[in-house]
Amino acid sequence: MSNPPKPALECRDVTVKFGDVTALSDVAVSFAPGQIHAVVGQNGAGKTTFARVAAGLVQPTAGAVDVMGEEIRTGHVSQSRAAGVELVHQSFALPPSFTVAETMEFGATGKGGIYSRRGLAEKWRTHLAGLDVQVDLNRRIRDLPIETQQGIEIARALVMDARVLILDEPTAVLSPSGIDMLFARVRRLKQRGVTVILILHKIREVLGIADTVTVLRGGRKVEGPLPIAEVSAERLANLIVGDAIAKTLDRHERDALVGTKSPVGEGAGHPENATGPSVLSMTAVSTRPDSEGIALDGIDLDIRPGEIVGIAGVEGNGQKTLVRAISALADLASGSIRLAGQDVTGAPLAARRAIGLRIIPFERNVEGLSLTSSLWQNWSARELLQGSLLKVIRPSAVREACDRSLREWSVHYHNSMQKAGSLSGGNAQKVILAREVDSDARLIIAAQPTRGLDIGATAFVWQALRQARDRGAAILLISSDLDELFDISDRVVVMLSGRVNGEFRAPFDIASVGAAMTDAAARTSA
């Protein structure tokens, strides 16, 4: 290693403070060019903040940033861009009504002007093809699957000949096959000489793609960049959560979290608990087709108290509609739904919630939280809706209750008046959990509850769901992560094209579950 090449990106003692919160403190790290670097750490560790400093979106309180050996003026997007640093955000948003070509043109150049649709499509076709994004350039963003949208977002970031591409939790929105596609794309970028920095949570993903890994904890750099060959999954987990916490995780949980073992979970398997009358009972439920997703087609599903039922399936096979149907947010064409013995087929969501329905929705930032409202308002919405609208409240008392609850769920926040949008992704999810997992919950729908959560927080959510189960709640868990499903479900139901395509009990066999996920012919029951 004599005369090493200049680092692609180097942070020198970067500190970022938001008011009283120190998001990064004295972080010094340098990333070698032409490699794939992973950055990991717990929720709120400062990963996104680091990325935003590099991209010029945040002005550090102290410290300097070098790109390719040249110091850049921090806090200016244009400077970072000019130096070749591009960031794809954790929750990116493309304009839904734009066509792909328009998105590329105006998103990348930011210039207006007269254009013809055909001209634009011509212009961007080669660029997208070069990055292996297969898409009709005249389709609108809202009609595209999330994988393709992400591909476009990456392509957009690469228009300006980026030399350092930072992807903030790109895998959080993807299905397993989408992740494979993304990683293939990232490897091709590496071949083209682009330095890629990936912010990730899953250790398996880190070990699978990265050349080096850097660990942040509490705003400080713990280690890194470490060559990937020198770290084991075990060690990485310890580095992320800290040795003290690592010791408290049991063996079984650890394996599922680290996710290096191939998923043949024995499952939690408490069928002996699950004997009472069904909490949720759906009989031949079909929904009317609508714009929000594929319709349900004759779903029969029963969940008993004390049971966690996992829904497996490739994304877009009716999981969202299932959640909407149970939540009275989709129109039923036929069939009936019973909740805790009561027929709620025509009942509104408020009535179902009063019976004990709780929902951790798919879209955390849209369906779960109002990002521009304060934490206490977000947290109290469920309870406030149970009483009369004119009920007098004392905000200070509500805020205290909110503080107590959020502390119980170990949410990292400053005070309950802060906007939900200022929390890190994982902490935002915990606020939803704190609201939805209460002692009156009888059926908890958990849709991708651990998406974007760090391994400590993931273990915490699993624990919370198990505890709710042990209290006698029924839980419907929807996840694209088979490790997660197999680890905590008592039963796994596979959905395909809006139908139930197989039901499995522990021990789960990955091969047959996988077959049921993709093949209608494999209608088996183990």
Binding site: F18, G19, L57, V58, Q59, G75, S327, L329, P348, L349, A350, R352, R353, I359, P361, V366, E367, G368, L369, S370, L371, T372, S373, Q377, N378, S380, A381, R382, L384, L385, G387, S388, L389, L390, K391, V392, I393, R394, P395
Partner: protein, 345 residues
């Protein structure tokens, strides 16, 4: 709380910008800008009796603006305060005809209720259209303003026409003195009492009830509130109706108080000034009170400008428009200045 302070400071900076801009414009137009600014301050607050005069305008504006704030908070852009103000006054005027001769302690509340119902009704249909078929409420309420304006022309030159009217402006028969709630100066304990009661009740509604919290959540993210099981129409429609009722109340006060009658096209800028006030106050009830006093001052200065600075009274409209421009532009620059050395966002 620091945040709401910040918004007030920001609004004041906008207002200052707007005043300076207007002063410059008038300077170039050949007027004496310092004299003009002085005339505004003098006419609004300094001259003896000016404060009373400013409050006379401020109180009805405050009532309408609080209502506007409530609908805006819930995410419904009720631009129709002007129309609801007119329909409220019209309904109160009809009720006055109907209850003529009754005892004042019954008739006065009845007229007030009639006026509020009228305003509420004029907000109800755009609200229903929005919720039933998604019709943009900005357009319907704006149209509602014109319809109410024409209705006012019709009733003052038709059913409620004052036959002895001088003919310059069609107007209704004057309200019996027994039912008036103030003299023509327009400031009386009754009106102050109504405004204070409205202020307190609405502050409680916004800050101390489940409705307040949920409506504000719904205004910022309706989807989230729906996933909590709320009926958006309940929150939205009631906010809409409350704002209409309050605008109607303000119209009724103008009718039963200072004006004593309704005239076609009276106070044509009331609703829009109220919207401006709500925006300057960032929809906050206490801030609305402060902003209403300020704009009430401008309204009273308008009458004083021609005498003092030789300016047409319409100069105040230009000042209002300039403030509106700055408020809606929400300049990034001011944000940056205010966050000086502060948190990047």
């Amino acid at each position: 709380m620091k945040d709401s302070l910040l918004t007030v400071v920001r609004s004041l900076i906008f207002v200052a910008f707007a005043l300076v801009l207007c002063a410059l414009v008038f300077q170039f137009a050949g007027y004496n800008a310092p004299t003009m600014l002085w005339a505004v301050a003098d006419g609004a607050f300094l001259r003896s009796g000016a404060i009373e005069q400013s409050l006379r305008w401020a109180l009805p504006l405050f009532i309408t603006a609080v209502g506007v704030g409530i609908s805006f908070r819930a995410g419904f852009f009720n631009i129709g305060a002007q129309g609801q103000f007119y329909v409220g006054a019209i309904c109160a005027a009809f009720a006055a005809e109907a209850f003529k001769g009754g005892p004042a302690f019954l008739v006065i509340p009845a007229l007030i209720i009639a006026g509020m119902l009228g305003g509420a009704l004029w907000a109800l249909w755009p609200g229903l259209l929005r919720l039933r078929s998604g019709t943009d409420e900005v357009i319907t309420t704006l149209m509602g303003n014109f319809m109410a304006g024409l209705l006012l022309v019709y009733v003052t030159s038709g059913p409620l026409k004052d036959p002895s009217g001088s003919g310059q402006q069609a107007s209704s028969r004057p309200l019996d003195a027994a039912y008036r709630i103030s003299d023509s100066l327009g400031l009386s304990p009754t009106i102050i009492g109504i405004a204070v009661a409205v202020g307190i009740l609405m502050w409680l509604l916004v800050n101390r009830t489940a409705f307040g919290v949920l409506a504000s959540l719904a205004g910022r993210n309706g989807t989230m509130v729906e996933w909590q099981g709320a009926r958006l129409w309940k929150l939205g429609l009631s906010s809409f109706v409350i704002s209409g009722a309050l605008a109607g109340l303000a119209g009724t006060i103008e009718f039963m108080g200072p004006n004593g009658r309704i005239a076609s096209g009276f106070l044509p800028a009331h609703g829009f000034t109220a919207i401006l006030i709500a925006l300057v106050a960032n929809l906050n009830v206490v801030g609305t009170a402060a902003a209403a006093v300020f704009f009430g001052g401008l309204a009273s200065a308008a009458l004083y400008l021609p005498i003092m600075a030789g300016l047409p009274a319409a100069a105040i409209d230009i000042i209002n428009a300039a403030i509106a421009l700055f408020i809606t532009a929400r300049s990034k620059l001011v944000d940056k200045v205010l966050r000086l050395g502060g948190r990047p966002s």
